[in-house]
Amino acid sequence: MNFSTAEVERVLDLWEDHRDRGQSVSVEDLTTDPAVVKEVRRRIDQMEAMNWLDADNETIDLDSKSASTIEPMPAPFDSCIPWMFGNRYVLNALIAGGGFGQVWKAWDRRLERYVAVKISKIDNTAEARHVARLQHPGIVAVHDLGEEQGFWYIVFDLVEGVDLGRRLTTDPPTWREVVEIMSHVADYVQYAHEKGFIHRDIKPANILIRADGTPILADFGIAVTESELKGEVTTTAGTLAYMAPELLVGDGKRADVCTDVYGLGVVLFQALTGQLPFAGRNFCEVRKRILSGEPPHFPETPGKIPDELKEVTLRCLSKDPDMRFQTAGELAHELRRFVYFES
């Protein structure tokens, strides 16, 4: 059936104008050409099928939890997950969910001990091989990996204790304890750097505190070797509040030793004060403060933090990577001075 496209457009314009004014009108009232009527009706049907596009102006409340602040969804029990992996590891209890998978406490039937099993839908062989190359008592060791019914798993040491994030909220450490913990962690990071690894996601949740109080560094899931980073110019891994400013700007800066030193500085500040150095209500605010915010102010705390320790912390948080400690080992050394000479 022939029709004029211009006439169809004209009738559609009229029909839309009526609709926008809240007036009901039939296509036949606007044209007498049956071919045009048919085509206009067809287009109206197609247009109305896409009306959901117009219902898009939901309010975004800046005070609501946004990308930088929302909590991970709790991980419910999932009946699809096998109860045993590799005919050896029997799942016992969910330890953590979200992130890049789930971590379960599991019973190792062969060695008769509990282990931690990280389960993911993604092939995480590379992660397991990364961590396996790091053999240090301060870094969570990997023992096994495999695939079971479409789920990839990595078997780690089970660290009995709490992570530093939880410790900060339930039993905040004194500044001396913080120095003790963070000097160890800086040593572990130094070791990883010497092996050519950049952690990229140093945060309290990844620092586990054993029952005897010593820390152990976990989650090298997004760690990369320096050689792998050579070809990468847009790395965005990590958690915003702990990301160094140079990673947030568009000059293609790659993660390196100094970005991990910055992450250590953020954790140090948070552990000493209970606050993040650069916080905000949403992504944009946090990012802006990391990039251009004034050096953070140390709030009053029950135990007076030595000024020199504040300076060490702020040096880690320098916007300019060259102004930070150039190695994690340097930071560990500085922190250890407080352990031995300030008591």
């Binding site: 898009d56 102006n57 800046l62």
Partner: protein, 212 residues
């Protein structure tokens, strides 16, 4: 409704006016405002896209997904040297669309966290339209596969329609604001928006392209 996330702020409108009056330095000031606007829209659209996918929440922190996309968005917009606000808006919309496609592909693709997950109640990507939940009459994509198809089809729209679609849907501007940026009449914007919807519907009816 917060103006930053629903349309142009007064400040950005001023920058636009100054640009049109020949003030080329206004672009740098406008850039920051557009980045804020684009970031808000990306977050809004990502949440909308992901909200019907409970299985995704099981495997990925939504915050992580959004954060990484926002970091890339900021970096992409900060490195370009646009000649006009129109061009900057175009780049922002393109980046938003790209991030949403990546997000959907990452979680829907064969290696995605959510793939083959049997607890996705409806498994909408495997259903014909007549098999869908009869209560769902919105027409909005209901699976990440459908969202991927939708975003890819947008890229196939004729250029004038795509540009309007980018401004109105990906960036959340209203028709008057889009008309000002493109220097056309509101009627033109209205027609292009209508034709974009019709073309999209025609393409979506054909279903996603199958890989061979």
């Amino acid at each position: 409704m917060d103006p930053t996330y629903t349309g142009l702020t007064g400040e950005l409108q001023d920058q636009l006016d100054r640009m049109q009056a020949g003030d080329t330095q206004a672009i740098e000031k406008a850039r920051g405002e557009i980045i804020r606007l684009a970031g808000g829209r990306l977050e809004h659209l990502a949440r909308r896209m992901l909200r019907k996918n409970p299985r995704l929440h099981r495997w990925e922190e939504t915050a992580d997904v959004l954060q990484n996309s926002l970091v890339r968005l900021h970096r992409a917009l900060e490195t370009v040297k646009p000649e006009s606000v129109r061009q900057l808006f175009g780049l922002a919309a393109m980046q938003i669309r790209r991030e949403l496609v990546d997000m959907a592909r990452r979680h829907y693709g064969p290696m995605g966290e959510g793939a083959h997950h049997h607890t996705d109640g409806r498994m909408a990507e495997n259903m014909r339209p007549d098999q869908r939940d009869p209560e769902d009459r919105s027409g909005e994509p209901s699976s990440l596969a459908e969202w991927t198809d939708f975003h890819e089809k947008v890229d196939l729209l004729p250029e004038p329609e795509k540009e309007v679609f980018h401004l109105l849907w990906y960036e959340g501007l209203n028709q008057e604001e889009a008309a000002k940026i493109l220097d056309v009449t509101s009627r033109t914007i209205k027609n292009r928006w209508r034709n974009a919807k019709i073309h999209l519907q025609q393409m979506l009816e054909q279903g996603p392209e199958t890989e061979t």
